[in-house]
């Protein structure tokens, strides 16, 4: 799955996903990616969040929506992501997944579970030398 957050110079925040889902799924199965609030959520007043991972589990917790609400309540991007991961691991300790969060002014962070570390890619206008940077976070 690719999940992406785009914020333009004026602070217009959008987010989206594209995926072919889980392998050997039962036909008709849809994961979290196209579900608003699960795969991605955006609010230009606050920022955006996107998710990837075990969609059958993650979509039950709407992590993208709640991470954005976390930003609205003053959490930083990394904290907002971690809180959503912890909500899921309480019920599914071994689930595999990651959440990336960005604020409307361009700060970003991520959190993950079920893997050693989780990489995400950033193209940042305030620090642009023509190359996309890869950040990695250790999982919760």
């Amino acid at each position: 799955t690719i999940s992406m957050i785009v914020i333009d110079q004026t602070g217009h925040v959008v987010a989206g996903t594209s995926t072919n889902g889980a392998r050997h799924k039962i036909p008709g199965r849809v994961g979290d990616s196209p579900i608003p609030g699960a795969g991605a959520y955006a609010d230009s007043e606050v920022g955006a969040a996107v998710a990837t991972g075990d969609g059958d589990v993650m979509m039950r917790f709407l992590p993208a929506l709640l991470a954005v609400e976390g930003l609205r309540n003053g959490q930083g991007p990394s904290e907002a992501a971690e809180r959503q991961i912890k909500r899921i691991t309480k019920y599914y300790p071994t689930f595999a997944g990651g959440i990336v969060v960005a604020t409307k002014d361009g700060r970003h962070g991520a959190a993950c579970n079920g893997m050693a570390e989780f990489p995400y890619s950033v193209a940042d206008g305030s620090d642009w030398q023509g190359e996309v940077k890869v950040y990695t976070v250790k999982c919760v």
Binding site: S3, V6, D8, G21, D54, D105, M115
Partner: protein, 225 residues
């Protein structure tokens, strides 16, 4: 960080760069830049988890999901289980811009895409077909059907697949609710499956839907969205 900004899950550098350049050099609006970025991965089949030719289902078919959300208008366009059309993110943009709906699904999402001018084409490739054939040859393992623990014990004590199967079906005849959720046993047989009679099936404990057996597939150890 600062603006403009593109952030993408995983190491999808080309997709991130395409979205960023569409936004800056191309002066695209953010939704168009987002679609440009996601479309790179749909073409490049990033990690085998995006686009055609990846993640075949139990019948060997690949279907696509995509979603776009505009954080200023709160408008959303999404497709789920899109069949036989490669450009899921672009189709989601037509749902966003040309309809007042939020999501279209399945074959009817395909009909909508054809109406919008997209082309119908198979999403299966030689690789996805081979992946599927190999999975069928391995008794359709792993899969997403529920298995009761009692049944696993039979396998663990050394019964051969067929041996366990025979014993289980004999036991199941007497009291199905002890053994199975569906039969034949999904942990050693392909379907089609039939549910053990509805009233005999006790409510399932909150199984860890992401226990290692479910997600420990060959690809990068995880099989996920």
């Amino acid at each position: 960080g600062g603006l403009p900004l593109v952030v993408t899950t995983w190491r999808f550098l080309n997709a991130t760069l395409q979205a960023y350049q569409s936004l800056t050099v191309g002066e695209f609006d953010p939704i168009d830049a987002l679609v440009e970025g996601c479309s790179v991965c749909e073409r490049e089949q990033c990690d085998g988890t995006v686009g055609y030719g990846g993640s075949p289902d139990e019948t060997g078919e690949t279907t696509l999901d995509a979603m776009l959300m505009d954080g200023t208008t709160m408008d959303i366009g999404a497709v789920a289980a899109l069949r036989e059309v490669k450009h899921a993110a672009a189709v989601a943009k037509y749902v966003l811009r040309n309809t007042r709906h939020t999501m279209l699904a399945g074959s009817q999402a395909t009909d909508f895409a054809l109406q919008m001018g997209f082309r119908r084409e198979t999403l299966q490739t030689d690789e996805s077909r081979a992946m599927w054939e190999q999975w069928k040859a391995n008794h359709c393992q792993p899969n997403f059907w529920r298995v009761s623990n009692a049944h696993c014990v039979c396998v663990l004590v050394g019964f051969s697949y067929l041996g366990a199967q025979t014993i289980l079906s004999q036991i199941a005849q007497k009291d199905r609710s002890i053994i199975e959720n569906v039969i034949p046993s999904p942990s050693m047989s392909c379907g089609p499956y039939e549910p053990v009679s509805a009233n005999a099936v006790r409510s399932n404990p909150p199984e860890d839907a992401s226990d290692p057996d479910r997600t420990d597939f060959s690809f990068g150890r995880y099989n996920h969205d």
